[in-house]
Amino acid sequence: MSNEENTMLGITIAGIKMKTPVMTASGTFGFGLEYKDFVDLNKIGAVVVKGTTLLPRHGNQGRRIAETPAGMLNSIGLENPGVNEFLSGILPHLNAYDVPIIVNISGNTVEEYGELAALLNASGVDGLELNISCPNVKEGGIAFGTNCDSASAVVRQVKKNTDLPVIVKLSPNVTDIVAMAQSVEDAGADAISLINTLLGMSIDIHKWRPVLGNVVGGLSGPAVKPIAVRMVWQVAQSVKVPVIGMGGIVTAEDAVEFMLAGATAVAVGTANFINPCAAQTVAEGIESYIRQRGLSHVRELVGKVNI
């Protein structure tokens, strides 16, 4: 990427400098390295790694994904090798690339979030994303993301334990997304990302059983895009911190829609499964779009929807 291009797409979110505003959504891009044959990791805005927990997790039993119209359900259940293995076994490989690494973390208790944050307050990590909204783990998980007070408690605890920028990822499974966003902002969030998946279910009508081993799972993909755009638009108007938009982004046009709604950056999730180069093609498409519109920088799109 030439310098000039850098200038058109380069952004800074909560102090994290990114070459493009296109990140990868946690859980859909492994630890980044899995995609290196398809994407130049040096050209991605930021790699947000798979949700990481204090101890290793095996995740949920049984079938973990189901296709739905223009979407998919997943119930991975936060399978991951645990924070220590991440730090010693994975992070060094990732740090061979010139790309910001954001670690998505999940805890069962407020204290666990704090512990994770402390452990990850390490060189080579550029930011934390708090997953307070995973619908796939029974012991809490989603509860933090649907209650303003517990969400704030998590954020405060994390902020106490880290110097890194803290992004809080919101659940869409709430009545009032704006109240959630304002609570975590008040508690010290440096940025807000949304949306995580919507809680859904599929039933196998031949077997009379849930399709997923975990019964319910999280809905993602193009199907959810209108809900995500609406929430990003509502939140972006109501908070001062930058918003990272995601939910169904597959094309550059989708990304532009989120940015017009108020997102400073975006993330591609399910799209990585459709097009393993998505993070790069979306960024390239945004740049063409900007050029065609005669703009000079991607920030000129942010929040520019005319109501």
Binding site: G27, T28, F29, G30, E34, Y35, D37, F38, K50, H58, G59, R63, R64, I65, A66, E67, P69, A70, G71, M72, N74, I76, E79, G221, P222, A223, V250, T270, N272, F273, I274, N275, P276, C277
Partner: protein, 255 residues
């Protein structure tokens, strides 16, 4: 072995059995790399419905012609989309994905059931000129167009059908002990229904013959990035079927 994603022109997409088609794609970069046991991850439609790719084993790769083949059964929406394509179309295709079979066997036995025979076809070609025996099972005579495909590649073909319309009546596991009695195999390769592979692995273990199995699971990314497809390996390890497999040594993933 770098993986890649290509827009592959369809050379042909022809019916070779009841609801079974063979798809031949022009994808020289993939053909040059592919080894038996690997698979393709195919985008069957440009629309978002169906949304995800479909994993299909590579049933042949012709480096000269630059083509790769896959044999698939039409079972649902995705394979129906694929079946509707013609030589005027192209498909977006990731490959070659996963790890293939170990090819060191001098005296191999292949045991396959149903569509699990597709990767074994590629394997049989690669194991030549070693003498190969194959034990194949299917529901009924109609499904056994496979036998014709393995002719010329194998020295002996043992067939079972559930209804006895071709070969022995029964399942591969019924015949396996006899086949093992008559040959001194140094490696058993198996691909097919889980229950069959488990049975084969057990018998192989009893006979002290190394065994490779090729697993299937529901896959989103196909390259180890989403953890849709992980299974339990031995000693509490986790295995991703797509990137640690789909081919495993039986004892890695089966009791």
């Amino acid at each position: 072995m770098p993986k890649m994603v290509v827009e592959a022109r369809i050379v042909r997409n022809t019916e070779i059995g009841v609801n079974v088609k063979e798809l031949v794609l022009y994808a020289p970069e993939i053909a040059a790399q592919a080894v038996p046991g690997q698979f393709l991850h195919v985008r069957v439609s440009d629309s978002y419905h169906p949304l995800l790719r479909r994993p299909l084993s590579i049933s042949d790769a012709d480096r000269q012609a630059g083509t790769i083949s896959t044999i698939y059964r039409v079972v649902g929406q995705g394979t129906a989309c694929l079946a509707a394509l013609t030589s005027e179309d192209s498909v977006n295709c990731m490959g070659p994905l996963g790890n293939g079979f170990a090819l060191q066997s001098q005296r191999p036995l292949l045991v396959g059931g149903g569509m699990g025979l597709a990767p074994l076809l590629f394997l049989a070609g690669a194991l030549c000129p070693h003498p190969i025996e194959i034990l194949m099972g299917g529901r009924t005579r109609e499904e056994m167009f496979w036998a014709d495909m393995f002719h010329g590649k194998c020295d002996a073909i043992h067939i079972t059908t559930d209804d006895g319309t071709l070969g022995s009546c029964g399942v591969t596991l019924d015949v396996l002990p006899e086949v093992l009695k008559n040959g001194a195999f140094d490696l058993i390769y198996t691909c097919g229904p889980r229950i069959m592979m488990e049975g084969v692995a057990k018998v192989a273990k009893k006979h002290n013959i190394p065994c490779q199995v090729s697993l299937e699971d529901y896959m989103a990314c196909g390259i180890g990035g989403c953890l849709s497809c992980t299974c339990a390996g031995k000693n509490g390890t986790r295995k991703k079927v797509c990137s640690d497999g789909p081919v495993f040594w039986a004892q890695e993933v089966m009791a």
